[in-house]
């Protein structure tokens, strides 16, 4: 069930009505019923994977709660010893839960990729043997709900909060419907109390929710789906285009990806807000990033935070990394010696984030690209500082910040060649073509009008992107726009809803021939 479909809007409308007329004690059950309905309609039998994950993390939570509870049965001074006594059991529970979910995720998402990768090797040593391929359907938003659920188990292990003892309530946390398509990856202690809260109908929540969702639909339908036409035309057959047209296609892919993903998240957060639920932010104006590391802190924030808390910290502070640190401090010394283990852990995390995007050599290369640049910038930080000092560059000067933003955009732009090209080697060829054979006149000789969009569409995209950038610039400078809107009168507040709606009607829904509707991150 796509967010842009009429059936989704009907489901949301019905759920909102039933949610607020139902007895408050059972409001969470309405959300659960709507979530299961959403998943069953959109994913059919794959809803079983949701139950599987919910069951594994529910059982793990109860077991961890049992072991954690042992410390409360003894005097304070013995608690540490008791926790140590049960540490191995607790670790085993976490390990088993991670394996139970991530092995399944591997089979669903990566098995066929590795099977195809290793088949030539099998052919060589075992003639005629065939690695079986998986025909399992990829469940909707599988990595999102699995990451969110495993995060819950690790937090219970760390004693951050007690486990949820009501299976159905935990199931709702796992499958809350607005975030099942593309996240955000929420944390239990932030989301669960909101899901189970009892609420009255609130005008502000409804208004904020609709405003945010309308903004999301505008970004998705007017910008992203329109830009997708150019992207698909160029990327389906890049060999037919010059370097400048390929770059034009990749630029439109950047626009499409941002409109699609951030628009989808705005819809998700807007719909959740209708129920008074404030979901985690997933974007903080990534276009204003001053470095690639900064970009990844602003883009898909909840995935980055998940990786930081559950993978980067445990890895960087693990015993092997501690030993490595001791060796590098001794052998290399100085800042470089201290930073090498952290840089290695950073590289691994960005590599994993790359692979998380999909089972393909392109994503492995994408992870390598991001990991290498961020690691190199860490290792060379001292040199950069020395150069800046020598050239008397003021870090805070506006021109230097503009330079940093443009440099980051360029690095991200190059990375997008890798993720959108049909194959990794094609991406390399495309980059080569862009710089060696650009044929710049194609940008103004009418070639762009052969890519599936007319002049009016380009004008709509240009104006829409300018509106989006202006809004983001305002947010970057002054904070939340809704708070500024709130100070305005009733008319202005509702114009903020009606104008995007009108734009959608004129340039989105009415141009149904350009609508692709599916979200790119849905496949992740």
């Amino acid at each position: 069930m796509a967010f842009t479909s009429l059936s989704f809007l009907i489901l949301v409308a019905i759920t909102v009505v039933v949610y607020y007329v139902f007895p408050k004690k059972l409001q969470w059950a309405v959300l659960l019923a709507a979530s299961l309905a959403f998943y069953c309609i959109g994913g059919g039998k794959t809803v079983l994977y949701v139950f599987y994950t919910a069951t594994t993390v529910y059982a793990a939570g109860l077991l961890l709660g049992y072991f954690n509870g042992k410390k409360d049965q003894v005097p304070k001074e013995q608690r540490k010893a008791v926790m140590e006594q049960y540490k191995k059991y607790r670790q085993l529970v976490v390990l088993f839960t991670c394996l139970a979910n991530f092995v399944l995720l591997y089979i669903l998402k990566y098995w066929n990729f590795t099977a195809e990768l290793f088949q030539p090797l099998v052919d060589r040593f075992f003639h005629g043997a065939q690695i079986p391929l998986s025909s399992l359907l990829l469940p909707l938003g599988v990595s999102f709900f699995m990451f969110q659920s495993v995060g819950y188990v690790i937090d219970v292990y760390r004693g951050k909060y007690p486990p949820e003892r009501n299976y159905l309530k935990l199931l709702l946390y796992v499958c809350f419907f607005p975030q099942m398509v593309q996240g955000p990856i929420s944390r239990f202690h932030e989301l669960a109390p909101q899901l189970y809260a009892q609420r009255k109908l609130d005008y502000t929540n409804l208004k904020y929710g609709i405003q945010l969702a309308m903004w999301g639909y505008f970004k998705k339908i007017v910008i992203a789906d329109r830009a997708a036409v150019v992207v698909n035309t160029v990327m389906d057959n890049p060999w037919s285009y010059s370097g400048s047209m390929i770059a034009f296609g990749v630029l439109f892919y950047c626009i499409q990806l941002y409109g699609d993903f951030s628009g989808g998240i705005d819809i998700t957060r807007g719909v959740a807000r209708l129920f008074g639920i404030d979901l985690a932010e997933n974007f903080q104006r990534p276009l204003f990033s001053v470095s690639l590391a900064d970009f990844w802190r602003r883009w898909h924030i909840t995935l980055g935070a998940w990786m930081r808390d559950y993978l980067f910290y445990p890895l960087a502070l693990s015993k092997p990394f501690g030993k490595l640190g001791k060796i590098t401090r001794k052998k290399i010394g100085g800042k470089l010696g201290k930073i090498i283990p952290t840089s290695l852990a950073t590289f691994i995390i960005y590599f994993v984030i790359g692979i998380w995007h999909g089972a393909n050599c392109r994503y492995i290369a994408f992870g390598f690209w991001n990991g290498s640049i961020i690691t190199m910038s860490l290792l060379l930080e001292g040199k950069y500082s020395a150069i800046k000092k020598k050239l008397h560059i003021n870090d805070k000067a506006a021109w230097f910040r503009a330079f940093q933003i443009m440099r980051t955009c360029f690095i991200v732009f190059l990375g997008r060649y890798i993720t959108r090209a049909p194959r990794f080697l094609t991406a390399i060829w495309m980059i080569k073509e862009t710089f060696l054979h650009p044929v710049l006149p194609n940008l103004w000789d009418g070639t762009i009008l052969t890519l599936g969009l007319g002049i009016m569409d380009y004008v709509v995209i240009l104006l829409s992107v300018m509106v989006m950038l202006a809004a983001e610039w305002y947010q970057e400078k002054h904070g939340v726009i809704r708070e500024a809107l709130e100070k305005q009168g009733f008319l202005v507040q509702w114009l903020a809803i009606l104008i995007p709606l009108l734009v959608l009607l004129c340039f989105g829904i009415l141009r149904s021939d350009t609508i692709s509707s599916e979200f790119i991150y849905k496949q992740f």
Binding site: R297, Y313, P314, A316, L317, G322, G325, T346, L378
Partner: protein, 75 residues
């Protein structure tokens, strides 16, 4: 102990004024990479065992909080 800690902090993050900042995490001044470097140094130089469970904002927002964590783990 505080002098040693201050030395570690200023060596790891020379651009941060640890004397005055009291919202190092909440204001996004200390990033995850800085935290890992600081913790690795504390473990190595001060011989204190700090685990992943200790990496919460309440322990790293100011020098005093970091010092309290180190002293708690040392005892």
């Amino acid at each position: 102990m505080k002098e040693q800690l201050m030395q570690i902090l200023t060596e790891c993050c020379p651009d941060i004024d640890f004397e005055t900042e009291v919202a190092l995490i909440d204001d996004g001044i200390l990033e995850s990479l800085d935290i890992v470097m600081i913790v690795s140094e504390i473990k190595d130089v001060l011989d204190v065992e700090i685990t992943v469970d200790d990496l919460v904002p309440e322990n790293f927002n100011s020098v005093d909080q970091i010092l309290a964590l180190v002293e708690a783990r040392k005892s």
